[in-house]
């Protein structure tokens, strides 16, 4: 079915929500989920983003970062993760008890390992 036709019935894939399996790299997600299982609890409510210290100074969004991890968009992720200050505000607002700081820390670790081909 062509995209246009699908769209007419309202179930086309929104491009920004599509996961491209050719370019997605699941290694980071696997590494983070293994080291910080609470990552799986995130339901993308955005509470962390609303309170974020770094987000007040730059375009930084932990919820978006979580999406990048899930989708394996490594390049976007790399820029995003470096901006967090590990201040811990998000930890206190997260309704799901996601250990947000460690998600950031393990992601940074995973990316470094990826660069060194250790992942």
């Amino acid at each position: 079915m062509s995209e246009q036709k699908a769209n007419r019935f309202g179930f086309a894939i929104n491009r920004s929500r599509a996961i491209n399996y050719d370019t997605s790299d699941r290694k980071v997600r696997e590494y983070v989920t293994m080291r910080e299982p609470s990552f799986r609890l995130c339901f993308a409510c955005g509470g962390c983003t609303a309170t974020c210290t770094a987000g007040q100074h730059a375009s930084f969004n932990l919820r978006r970062m979580n999406t990048y991890i899930r989708r394996g968009e490594i390049d976007s992720l790399r820029e995003e993760v470096a901006r967090c200050m590990l201040c811990g505000k998000c930890l206190l607002v997260c309704p799901r008890g996601v250990n947000t700081r460690n998600v950031v820390a393990t992601t940074a670790e995973a990316l470094r390992k990826l660069d060194r081909n250790e992942l």
Partner: protein, 631 residues
């Protein structure tokens, strides 16, 4: 005079350990920085030397600090260390005084009775024999406790006892054998010759009544010598190495050497000075409230010593500092953990047995590569102020604390500027706690710039985490004050006049403010001014951590809640009206863990302030006008 080859295991062990100690100390000394070398040399010829001797006597022999924490455990350590020391001293005197010659080799003192079997039948020598027996029984009583502790740790009021490596085990067995074999060796010899003190004499006579004492005695002398020799040979690769190393540590510390922020000979000496006493386990809330029993400082230090992979252990700690507070050896456990965190991943090497004698290796200091970058921060323009108020990230999550601080400062007529009203930049301590010091520097520079530009004389913060890092890692002209200190100052000056609230409250010392920065009295002074302050079981330097600590990156929220609930339970034992703390993070953490109301010290004071006069009068007069009009 008897001479026998059985003394050789002992002799070899003794000479080995003496030479080894000299070599190892020399290596450590050589690896000290120049400044530390100078300190140590100066310390050796001055007051620190006398101090060290005193400390060695009080701590390494009498174990005063362990005694204070746990008398039974203290007695165990004291009887073994001090008892053995006395046995050696008086044994040497005995050999010198009653022996055939003066200045005997050590083996003649240790195996005195073997070489002088006829000695001590009567007179002064017999009395001396009783004294030596007394010392032996003193040691044996401690040994009995040690055996009990190993098998039933609960008996000594300790929850858990430390785990052993196999070399520790062999060393432990040889240590345990030393004194019983001495007892039996002496008893058999005494039994065969019909002399000896109240212990060896009587036991010997009893044994000799049904056994060929003279034939059996040599076996036990062999065992005695072998266990001593084995113990000495294994000493450097076991936890018992702490005995000589602690002496060195005491000299170094008293000479003014400190841990600083990198691996050094001093940090290595500290890791070897841990006696694995396990006191740090029993105070750690991770074990007592959250059931996590593998990350306590004793395991961390052991991992460092044996170069294991301890990344998980290093990360999984609240950095609350309770263990630092109780460690009888005075190891700076928090700073050591931070150094290890800064290092990041390390290559794990499986140490071979001989590597563990540690003559060739040296821990390299590698800093982890930066992962974070804050180049997006733009410098702020100049905004002068006398008093700067920095709420801190966490305080922004407790708006009631900010409101209370505003009310207090307005009421006292303080002219201040709210530095991070529109949301500031993190102080940098959370990054430092995660071992990312270089990245933290970027934030520190950013904030310092704002503070310097304001020309402020005073910087007030509501968060102990920020307070600690402002004081320790920022270079500032402004005086840094925690809001509890500041409020205390305002009350003392008379510019703030809160009333008295009829509430019974307890105070929780936040880790970074209390143990971390030594601020215990000011908050208490403030609270006592406005309410009735009740004592809690563990407070001041032994106060509990709320469990919310940013010092631990990996701890799950479930475990945090367990720690918070346990701490809250202890805090509210006296059923107070309110729990007061002075850390926004503690407040948030406890609020979820207890039914009792939890407030910040600023909120308490703000509640005690008289209502602003003008507004009430305004409303009252309006009401008056209204009634007049209606009437």
């Amino acid at each position: 005079m008897n001479s026998d080859i059985f003394v050789w295991p002992f002799n070899l062990g003794l000479y080995f350990i003496l030479i080894y100690s000299v070599v190892r100390s020399t290596i450590w000394f050589r690896n000290l920085s120049r400044a530390d070398k100078l300190r140590l040399q100066r310390g050796f010829f001055g007051m620190p030397f006398m101090q060290s001797i005193r400390e060695i006597f009080m701590e390494s022999l009498l174990h005063r600090r362990i005694f204070k924490k746990n008398p039974v455990l203290g007695y165990m350590h004291m009887s073994l260390a001090f008892g053995w020391f006395l046995l050696i001293v008086f044994g040497t005197i005995e050999a010198d005084f009653f022996g055939e010659r003066h200045l005997n080799p050590p083996s003649h003192a240790i195996f005195f009775r073997w070489f002088n079997p006829e000695h001590g039948a009567s007179g002064l020598a017999a009395i001396y024999g009783h004294w030596m027996d007394f010392l032996l029984i003193f040691i044996l009583s401690g040994l009995l406790l040690a055996v009990v502790k190993r098998f039933i740790p609960g008996m000594m009021g300790m929850k858990k006892t430390t785990r052993h490596t196999w070399s520790d085990r062999i060393a432990l067995i040889s240590l345990w054998l030393i004194f019983p074999s001495r007892l039996l060796a002496e008893s058999f010899t005494c039994g065969a010759h019909g002399n000896g003190g109240f212990l060896t004499g009587n036991l010997g006579a009893a044994l000799a009544s049904f056994l060929p004492a003279a034939d059996i005695a040599p076996y036990f002398w062999w065992l005695y010598s072998l266990s001593l020799g084995t113990f000495f040979f294994l000493l450097p690769v076991t936890r018992y190495f702490h005995i000589p190393v602690e002496l060195l540590l005491i000299f170094m510390r008293n000479s003014g050497i400190t841990t600083a922020d990198r691996w050094s000979a001093y940090t290595e000496v500290q890791t070897h000075a841990c006696s694995s006493c396990g006191i740090c386990i029993s105070v750690c809330q991770m074990s007592r409230a959250a059931g996590i029993n593998d990350m306590q400082s004793v395991y961390f230090v052991k991992g460092l010593r044996n170069e294991r992979d301890i990344a998980a252990i290093t990360a999984n700690c609240l950095m609350c500092g309770r263990c630092d507070e109780v460690c009888p050896v005075g190891i700076e456990l928090g700073p050591l953990r931070l150094i290890e965190r800064r290092q990041g991943e390390r290559e794990v090497t499986k140490l071979k047995f001989f590597d563990r004698y540690g003559l060739m290796r040296r821990r390299e200091h590698i800093e982890r590569e930066p992962t974070q970058s804050y180049s997006y921060l733009t410098p702020e323009e100049e905004k002068p102020a006398d008093v700067l108020f920095f709420a801190g990230c966490m305080t922004h999550l407790t708006p009631s604390v900010i409101a209370a601080m505003k009310k207090i400062m307005d009421s006292a007529g303080v002219r201040y500027r709210f530095m991070d009203e529109q949301g500031g930049v993190c102080c940098g301590r959370p990054l430092m706690l995660a071992g990312r010091d270089r990245e933290a520097r970027e934030l520190i520079n950013h904030n310092s710039d704002i503070i310097w530009k304001s020309g402020a004389k005073t910087l007030v913060t509501s968060c102990p985490i920020c307070y600690k890092v402002f004081r320790e890692s920022y270079y500032l002209e402004a005086e840094v004050m925690h809001h509890s200190e500041f409020i205390n100052l305002l009350i003392e000056e008379g510019s703030l006049r809160p009333g008295y609230l009829h509430r019974r409250v307890v105070y929780h010392d936040p880790c970074d403010l209390g143990r971390g920065s030594g601020i215990y009295d000011e908050p208490r002074a403030v609270i006592s001014y406005v309410a009735e302050l009740q004592p809690v079981p563990e407070e001041r330097s032994m106060s509990l951590c709320c469990g919310g600590s940013l010092g631990n990156l990996t701890l799950s929220s479930g475990k945090r809640s367990l720690i918070a609930a346990d701490a809250a339970r202890i805090l509210t034992q006296s059923d107070p009206d309110e729990v007061i703390t002075s850390c926004p993070l503690c407040k948030k953490t406890f609020a979820k863990a207890t039914e009792t109301r939890v407030s910040d010290i600023a909120e308490l004071v703000a509640a005690a302030l008289p209502k602003p006069v003008r507004k009430t009068r305004g409303r009252a007069s309006l009401a008056a006008v209204k009634t007049v009009a209606d009437g």
